[in-house]
Symmetry: C3
Subunit: 146 residues, 3 copies
Amino acid sequence: MKVSITSGKSEGPTRLNAFDNALIDAGIGDVNLIKVSSIIPANAQIVRLPPLETGSTVNCVLSHRISNSRGDLISAAIAVALSDNMGCVAENGGINKDPKIIREDAIFMVEYMMRKRGEKIKNLIVEEINHKVKECGAVVAALVYL
Amino acid sequence: MKVSITSGKSEGPTRLNAFDNALIDAGIGDVNLIKVSSIIPANAQIVRLPPLETGSTVNCVLSHRISNSRGDLISAAIAVALSDNMGCVAENGGINKDPKIIREDAIFMVEYMMRKRGEKIKNLIVEEINHKVKECGAVVAALVYL
Amino acid sequence: MKVSITSGKSEGPTRLNAFDNALIDAGIGDVNLIKVSSIIPANAQIVRLPPLETGSTVNCVLSHRISNSRGDLISAAIAVALSDNMGCVAENGGINKDPKIIREDAIFMVEYMMRKRGEKIKNLIVEEINHKVKECGAVVAALVYL
């Protein structure tokens, strides 16, 4: 199995459109996303997000925030940890929170998930995105199952 | 690929049952719905909703509202726009909002989604349903992937 | 088709981790859960939850509650009713509610779902779990499609 990690941010005229634009910015705007919980099978390879077939169905772990309050700092992050046997994903995000804390908390949570399962982390990746809202903005961070 | 557009409304003794009854009214009450985001592949045909196999798994874009406040006007709408290359779906809904506005906003959003992707709309369909709550009511509007 | 009914509870250092730990306690922590609505096909067998392949994708009906208020009583329940032709699942849950009421309401809702469909119940199962929160706790009750 292959997985990709991506993120995106955008403004838009409505909350729905800001979110949709952020998905486009992340390269996952033209597919049907299905949200799944957050376990990666053994021997998954992390690859660069390929072009996805329009309208295809794609499983993902998704963190997102949307705001239409000018000046809000919106953040989304996912932390991905892989061992030899499996992987875990932790989602985090916030509005007007310190991005450093959001990142650290995502790492804390995924490290705990792996420790709880007795798994030794070989590879830890954090994808984080922040955006200062102008009119209406959205951020997304996602792990995509290919 | 074939897709169907449907809607339903109902009262029920609890919020869960009102929602379930509205799904039955829409013809999608006896399947396992999986919510997906809102892109339709190229060359999709819109067909009348066929009988669905009981307990089968069905992907859908779903807009719904539930209320147990007597007198509430609850509304759900989806707008579906198709080009030669793909389609987009926008969900909208509200409680005690002007149904005309809900419909217009759904159209605005899906038109924007298509414009953003450089797609020329060949076919635009809006499914809208409204219900005045007696005791506990629900409305659903859905695009179903067959 | 085979289905399993399970539940779990746990504490954890964060809401995400408490929820993840409760999924592990329920035996469904190492898979990718996809939430579906709540219809079981004809002739489904209820079996003991087998070990699931790590990272596999599993459809489920899931009820859960999470709280980080010490002393909260959190409850999750699902009621499963089977006829000769199909089955229905009702989810219920609550915080600081009488577990007896949560169980009774779940049964009421699933009985109504079956009556509404003209189905005669042959088998009714309720899975219920309660937990008194120490720091941060979660409960889950689930029907898993195998």
